[in-house]
């Protein structure tokens, strides 16, 4: 594998892309998990499919279309759900399915044979191009700057939005920035694990990190490192076993989460039992 990594550019692209995606995933994933925005992220990711379809139909880079749709979906879901009685749930559901429907419609309107969209739906990190890599780098840079530079304000906003508002912090502004950051992260992850599997990579590393660290900054760093491990090991498995890379990465991260969760439960039960028997003595 190491020899192949030096020989093949597609493998180098995959490794670099995986690292970029994991960094944004670590930072934004923790925010998504703490702010309970997992379904919102799923909605944004699936709406992006409409942009992929539009890109193919209009003849521009599908990932640019995905980016535009993701940002519009993020802002749209955020704005509409604030003004409806049904709340975010219904709006997310509608954006989710309408985005997918638009993607299907745009592809159907294309003349000739439809393109293979499985790499957008399920990801294929091994086929990441240099231009996509450049976009992932820019997204990683922007998201990292936005999170690190305003870290203390994010912390106040994430813990208690109302309190931040009373202090005079422009929470609507932060809200919109956060939604755009989520949209950008989703786009960075589309080529890695695909639209359908994006939620797993956003949540699993963050949830695993939450099991071991109680500090927000450390949690983000740990989630990013875990993401890098899952991506690189997933690429390795994909290369060695000739299986889909997106599925390998997602299954690896999901299984690790459940395994660690189980171990934690068993450990907690054991220590509870020990405490109980101590009392009986």
């Amino acid at each position: 594998m190491m020899q192949a990594l030096f020989n093949y550019q597609f493998l180098q692209n995959a490794v670099i892309g995986g690292i970029f995606a994991s960094i944004v995933c670590g930072m934004i994933g923790v925010i998504i998990v703490e702010k309970k925005l997992v379904m919102m992220s799923g909605g944004i990711a699936h709406t992006a499919y409409g942009g992929v379809g539009l890109g193919y139909l209009m003849g521009f880079e599908p990932i640019i279309g995905a980016f535009l749709f993701a940002v519009l979906a993020a802002l749209g879901i955020g704005a509409i759900s604030k003004h409806t009685r049904s709340g975010a749930d219904v709006v997310i559901g509608l954006f989710w399915s309408m985005g997918m429907a638009l993607g299907i419609l745009f592809i159907a309107l294309m003349p000739g044979y439809p393109p293979d969209l499985s790499s957008y739906l399920f990801g294929n990190i091994l086929s990441v191009t240099r231009s996509e890599l450049l976009m992932m780098f820019l997204i990683t840079l922007l998201v990292s700057i936005a999170v690190i530079a305003f870290f203390n304000h994010w912390k106040v906003f994430l813990f208690d939005q109302e309190f931040a508002g009373i202090l005079g912090i422009k929470i609507a502004w932060l809200d919109n920035i956060l939604l755009i950051l989520i949209a950008m992260t989703v786009v960075a992850l589309i080529r890695v694990v695909g639209i359908i599997l994006v939620i797993a990579l956003l949540t699993a590393p963050a949830a695993i990190a939450a099991m071991f660290t109680t500090n927000l900054a450390k949690r983000m760093t740990s989630a990013a490192l875990l993401g890098i491990f899952f991506c690189l090991f997933g690429i390795y498995l994909s290369y060695q076993l000739n299986i889909a890379s997106g599925a390998a990465i997602v299954l690896l991260s999901g299984c690790t989460y459940f395994l660690l969760y189980l171990l934690k439960r068993i450990r907690a039960k054991k220590s509870l039992g020990r405490a109980g028997s101590g009392k009986n003595l």
Binding site: E34, R85, F150, N152, F163, I166, L167
Partner: protein
């Protein structure tokens, strides 16, 4: 001469087509300790949020120390209902209190000063939580969590402290500790307390407002059966045996 801290004139708040508050008029003097009671859905929290500028008002006027319109110059402290907060959020007690010093302008690479970090200890001392400064908030009891939120509100150095049901889900001893703390704080600031706790109303607050969409009563904190019946919309007995409490009468088509 005491100043008017809060002046509310003909305040109405309507969500979609639901009237949460209707024509509320109320004045609060500087240094006053006002308790607000009312049934669930009676508009207590909405009233508090309207005063703090967190809820858009439909009509009427709110003045804080003579100033009308946001943002208010007078620093306002707020202790929210803690059920609405994420108790598992990865922060320590010290970090939460420190957030009271955050700058309102979202500047890049904002850092808290050493003096602010030192001041946090004073506020924690004031609420009796200095020994818990490094604790994760997820491991706090209900009473400790509330006292931490009060310390955070104090970091703003508020002229008015607003509290939304600070004794909900708190044991009896912690409840009494919180009331004693508020009594002390009232020497330095105006306090507006929203509560369901009728004991607090009788024993601790200086003035009382009863809200059920409209302002049913505003005056001395002496509840009688007539006021409570009017407020809750059904017959209620008030029995005082040193510790006042209430018993709901059996009645047809029960309410409350």
């Amino acid at each position: 001469m005491t100043k008017t801290a809060i002046h509310v004139e003909d305040l109405s708040v309507i969500y979609d087509q639901t009237v949460a508050l209707e024509g509320v008029c109320l004045d609060v003097e500087e240094g006053e300790y006002l308790g607000i009671i009312g049934p669930n859905g009676g508009g207590k929290t909405t009233f508090l949020k309207a005063l703090l500028g967190l809820t858009k008002i439909s009509s009427g006027k709110i003045e804080i120390f003579g100033q009308c319109g946001q943002p208010f110059k007078a620093p306002l402290g707020y202790v929210p209902q803690f059920s609405g907060l994420n108790k598992a959020f990865p922060m320590t007690v010290e970090e939460v209190v420190l957030t009271g010093f955050i700058s309102s302008a979202v500047k890049p690479f904002f850092k808290y000063s050493k003096a602010q970090k030192e001041a946090v200890k004073d506020f924690l001392q004031k609420v009796g939580m200095l020994n818990l400064a490094g604790r994760q908030i997820g491991s706090l009891s209900g009473g400790e969590f509330q006292r931490m939120l009060i310390a955070r509100a104090l970091a703003v150095r508020p002229k008015i402290l607003f509290l939304d049901e600070p004794t909900a889900s708190v044991d009896a001893r912690s409840r009494e500790d919180i009331y004693q703390l508020l009594k002390e704080l009232n020497k330095e600031m105006t306090i507006i307390l929203v509560t369901h706790d009728l004991l607090a109303i009788s024993s601790h607050v200086g003035r009382l407002a009863c809200l059920n969409s409209k302002l049913v009563y505003h005056g001395e904190p002496q509840l009688n059966e007539k006021i409570v019946t009017q407020l809750y919309g059904c017959p209620v007995d008030l029995i005082a045996h040193g510790v006042p409490h209430r018993v709901l009468k059996d009645h047809e088509g029960g309410c409350c």
